[in-house]
Amino acid sequence: MLRRRLINWISQNGRYFTSASKYKSSICLENIYPGSSLNILRSVQKPAGDGTNFTGYVPIEQLKVSYSMASGPGGQNVNKVATKVDVRFHLKNAQWIPEALKEKILEQNPNRITKDGYFVMKSDLTRSQQLNLADALEKIRTVIKAAAFVPAPVTEETLEKIRKRSSA
């Protein structure tokens, strides 16, 4: 209420109001970050993969997210609040996963793929829908990263050690 009154008086002293709204002290953001755009809403470029590596970027709009009630103890809360999260996407049609990784994902996670070819990830880790969604996405990223994992080539020294060990 006071704020409304204040706005009314200040708008009457229009010249003063404009100078106050343009007030820039010595520690304003323009002085602290001289080279910055200072635009909090600037569009951020999505990380572009090179076709073989998974960057970690998941296009949320291409996932099918559904919510349901979780199981286990919890009384009225667990019976009524839809905190369990089910995230699905069609693996073959997912353009954000490099083609080379899709075979590996199929191999390593046969239990996660449905007959129709949908990759399914569920989470009911926490009491919060949003945190469960974050958990599901984290698990998806882990699965894809595990498929993308290429162990380091065995070095000459290691081979030598193994040969020595077996011969001794």
Partner: protein
């Protein structure tokens, strides 16, 4: 026309010289001369009592209880007490509560919501003198939060930031030192004091890191980096960042205080006269330099 008492008083104020130390005086009876210990009633023991350590001026140290373990030594020093007097407290408000305040019309989502607005609801008791430095938002009710607001608080965890930004809002964490907070918490009482609006001080060095961190949406962080963090958080929590560039409330959402400002639309160093409904800005060069007014 007979001049009334008010007119006489006003003419006095107009004609009398400026107040300074050479024309000020204490009220009568406020300063009494010290009574010396002389004569029949002030003499003999001269206010020092009878015998003992007190008359002999051999006082025991403060807190000494004659040998009994004194109060200040009865309790062991614990490491978790260290720095307790320097600890800052932030009163928690849940997102559920904020949503309820907006739904019931106590908070206006079309104006920036800061400490002053939350305190103006008169539902929260924030006392800067009790080392309470502001509000923190907890994540209770994050699942059903759907208000688009420009929120400025003192601390918010990641989940809360995600919940606010998911709905197209903007959240900032800002620091208010004790003097500025006292003004912000009760602006009406502050203006009635007739004291110029203070310039907000920088946070103490242990809090400076937090308030310069784009991850915590600090008010001293680079907005460029905050834009990046907004995207990262949207990827983490699984939502699409709403497009705000064409939003009609964009200007309100982007509205931010200068790090030295306490109130939106008011510069430090200004007086606000509620009675005259006027705002007085400093004109003196030294004051302008101090309050960083260009």
């Amino acid at each position: 026309m007979t001049s009334s008492g008010v007119d006489k008083a006003l003419s006095l104020v107009r004609n009398l010289p400026r107040i300074s130390f050479n024309n000020l005086r204490d009220s009568v009876g406020k300063r009494k001369p010290r009574e010396r210990c002389r004569g029949r009633y002030g003499g003999k023991t001269h206010g020092c009592g009878q015998k003992g350590s007190e008359q002999r001026q051999a006082y025991m140290r403060l807190g000494h209880e004659g040998g009994q373990t004194p109060f200040y030594m009865r309790f062991s020093k614990e490491p978790y007490y260290k720095g307790w007097h320097l600890q800052r407290e932030y009163l928690p408000i849940s997102l559920h509560r904020i949503q309820m305040l907006i739904d019931t019309g106590r908070l206006n989502p079309e104006e920036p919501i800061d400490v002053t607005q939350i305190c103006n609801t008169k539902l929260f008791k924030l006392d800067p003198r009790k080392k309470q430095y502001g509000f923190q938002i907890t994540d209770e009710g994050a699942d059903c939060f759907d208000a688009k607001i420009n929120l400025e608080v003192q601390y918010a965890p990641e989940h809360v930031i995600a919940a606010v930004e998911k709905n197209g809002g903007i959240i900032t964490t800002a620091f208010y030192d004790v003097m500025s907070l006292q003004a912000a918490v009760d602006p009406e009482a502050f203006f009635k004091r007739g004291v110029p609006i203070p310039k907000r001080m920088l946070p103490p060095h242990d809090a400076l890191v937090q308030y310069s961190d784009p991850k915590q949406r600090g008010y001293l962080a680079d907005p460029d980096k905050i834009a990046e963090e907004r995207f990262i958080l949207s990827q983490k929590y699984g939502y699409e960042l709403p497009e705000l560039s064409q939003d009609p409330l964009k200007d309100m959402l982007l509205r931010r205080k200068d790090p030295r400002q306490v109130f939106y639309g008011l510069m430090p160093g200004c007086f606000v006269s509620l009675r005259d409904k006027k705002v007085f800005a400093p004109k003196d060069e030294e004051l302008k330099r101090f309050y960083e007014i260009n």
